[in-house]
C-alpha cells in the first residue's frame, strides 16, 4: 500500500518521464542521447510504475504489455534495416540518408539548429534500439520484482 503522495505524483510524472524518454530516442541524431539512453530513461519510467504499486497492481499493469515481443521486434527491426543495405551496397549501409524518404532530408553542413527530418537509417535504428532496450531493461527489473516473496515486500 503506497501513500497518496507517491501515487498521485507517479500519476503525473510517469507520462512525463516516458515522453522525455521518447524525446531522447527521437532526437538521437540531433542532441545527446539515442536509442540506448532514451530506452534506459523510458525503462526507468516503467520501473517507477513498478516501485510505486504493489504486486497485484504491477501484475495487472504489465500483464498485457508484450515485452518479449517488443524486444524481438526491436532486434529484428535493427537487422532488417541493416539488411536494406544488401540491395546494392553492404550490410548496415545508410541507404535512406539524403534520399528524401521519411527522415531522409539532407543536413546542411556546419552548425545548424537541428532538423528532425534528417538522419536516414540512424533515426530508424534509434527507434528500434530504443524499443529493444526499454523492453529488455524493463523485463529485467520486472522479473527481479516478480520473484520476490510476498512477505518481504510491503510499502
Amino acid at each position: 500500500m503506497t501513500t497518496t503522495i507517491i501515487r498521485t505524483t507517479t500519476k503525473i510524472l510517469a507520462p512525463l518521464i516516458l515522453v522525455f524518454g521518447s524525446y531522447i530516442i527521437l532526437h538521437g541524431h540531433l542532441t545527446p542521447g539515442g536509442g540506448f539512453q532514451g530506452g534506459a530513461v523510458f525503462a526507468s519510467g516503467l520501473a517507477l510504475l513498478i516501485v510505486a504499486n504493489n504486486k497485484e497492481k504491477v501484475k495487472e499493469l504489465f500483464d498485457k504489455v508484450p515485452l518479449s515481443q517488443l524486444e524481438s521486434l526491436g532486434a529484428l527491426g535493427f537487422l532488417g534495416i541493416g539488411a536494406l543495405g544488401l540491395m546494392g551496397y553492404t550490410f548496415l549501409k545508410n541507404v535512406i540518408a539524403n534520399s528524401d524518404f521519411l527522415f531522409g532530408a539532407p543536413t546542411p553542413k556546419g552548425i545548424n539548429p537541428g532538423y528532425l527530418n534528417t538522419g536516414g537509417t540512424l533515426s530508424y535504428l534509434n527507434i528500434f534500439v530504443g524499443t529493444k532496450v526499454l523492453a529488455g531493461l524493463t523485463s529485467i527489473v520486472l522479473i527481479f520484482f516478480l520473484i520476490l516473496r510476498r512477505e518481504r515486500d510491503e510499502w
Binding site: F36, Q37, A40, S44, V141, I147, L148
Partner: protein
C-alpha cells in the same frame, strides 16, 4: 579564472569523489550502503564524462546508474540478504 584552471580543479574534485565513493562502496559492511555508494560513484563518473565533453555517455551512465542499476541491486538484495559476511 580561465578555463584551464577551472578544468583541472574540476578534475581533482571529481577524482576525490570517484575514489572516495568507490572506497566507501568497498568498505561499507551494509550492502544497501554499498549500493548507495555505487550510486554516488555512478554520479561522479557521469559528471566526469560530462566534463570531458561526452554528453552521450553521460546520459547513458545517468539513465542506467540513477535508476536502473540501483533498482536491480536493491531487488536482488531484497531477494537475498543485506548483511556482509563477517570476515
Amino acid at each position: 579564472m580561465n578555463f584551464e584552471n577551472f578544468f583541472w580543479i574540476l578534475q581533482i574534485l571529481i577524482a576525490i569523489a570517484l575514489i572516495g565513493s568507490s572506497i566507501a562502496a568497498i568498505r561499507f559492511k551494509n550492502l544497501i550502503a554499498a549500493v548507495i555508494a555505487m550510486a554516488v560513484f555512478s554520479l561522479a563518473l557521469s559528471v566526469e564524462f560530462y566534463v570531458l565533453q561526452a554528453p552521450d555517455v553521460a546520459i547513458a551512465e545517468a539513465g542506467v546508474g540513477a535508476g536502473l542499476t540501483t533498482a536491480m541491486y536493491l531487488l536482488a538484495i531484497k531477494n537475498t540478504t543485506d548483511e556482509e559476511v563477517i570476515e
